[in-house]
Symmetry: C2
Subunit: 184 residues, 2 copies
Amino acid sequence: MAELFIALIHHPVLDRRGKIVTSAITSLDIHDLARSARTYEVRAMYVVHPVKELREFACSVRDRWLEGYGRQFDALRQEALQRVAVVSGLDDAIASIRGICGAPPLLVHTSARTQEGISYPALRKELDAEGPPFLILFGTGFGLAQSVAERADRILAPILGPGDYNHLSVRAAASIILDRLRGR
Amino acid sequence: MAELFIALIHHPVLDRRGKIVTSAITSLDIHDLARSARTYEVRAMYVVHPVKELREFACSVRDRWLEGYGRQFDALRQEALQRVAVVSGLDDAIASIRGICGAPPLLVHTSARTQEGISYPALRKELDAEGPPFLILFGTGFGLAQSVAERADRILAPILGPGDYNHLSVRAAASIILDRLRGR
């Protein structure tokens, strides 16, 4: 099984008008994605933010459950949040993975607006095989900027329900994608 | 296709020690579940809470996007939140569905702790057929109380990843369940 990593990107992302912005960190994103990461055996979840103060906030959300009272209070939460790493840019996440695995990851772009893309069964098959690590990129706000898509090795198909509406929260979308790729 | 409904239950649910409690409403639950409900063509999402002040809070979270500025600001969010109904107990949700569909729903219990249960493909097949409406019950806190399970017509199998850890947020779990039952 390939090593799997995820990154939650706050810059460069789009706002509702398609402008490139930096989004704020939502504490519940860290908790939800860490728990989903732990459930689907994702090796680490990178919270990517260029602003130091917001990285410090993300670290405080995580460390609340890794130290002292929080650690004793909820061992399951601790197990999830241990996988959270906070970095300033995508290249730092890639460097971290290179350090862990000895090879850079293949980057997987996700977007609700992708017209065509690799199917879930096809990517699942790649993940099941022995091979390089994979890093799945999730965008906050209204999704990842085009410059991120241009760096990607795989563009994943969007999540679709029975109809055309697919305006899911990043918490829901990331969980569904992990379930489609690694669920039993 | 059977009509599908979901309910987010705040009482009776369990706390971390297994005691029956009433949990508080989380505004992001309402947004995330409404967006997932809209994506997977769930007819209505019931926020179930016995305390009037918290029901009023839930209504204010919803109505912020259905009226005035919020309505103009984000039409997609409005489309999702339109499906949110706020009720004081499970029986009110059942009565509402009876009013909409002319028949009471079959109740589907969900829990991370279920030992055995109906599989996702089996329940999906039932949902694809013509038949009575279904209401899927999601518990906040540490999950639904046993008294809710006893009323259920179907007990759904838990969500599992490659390992045994399945401590997902209710936002993630509900989205994954809808995707497994209705995803394309």
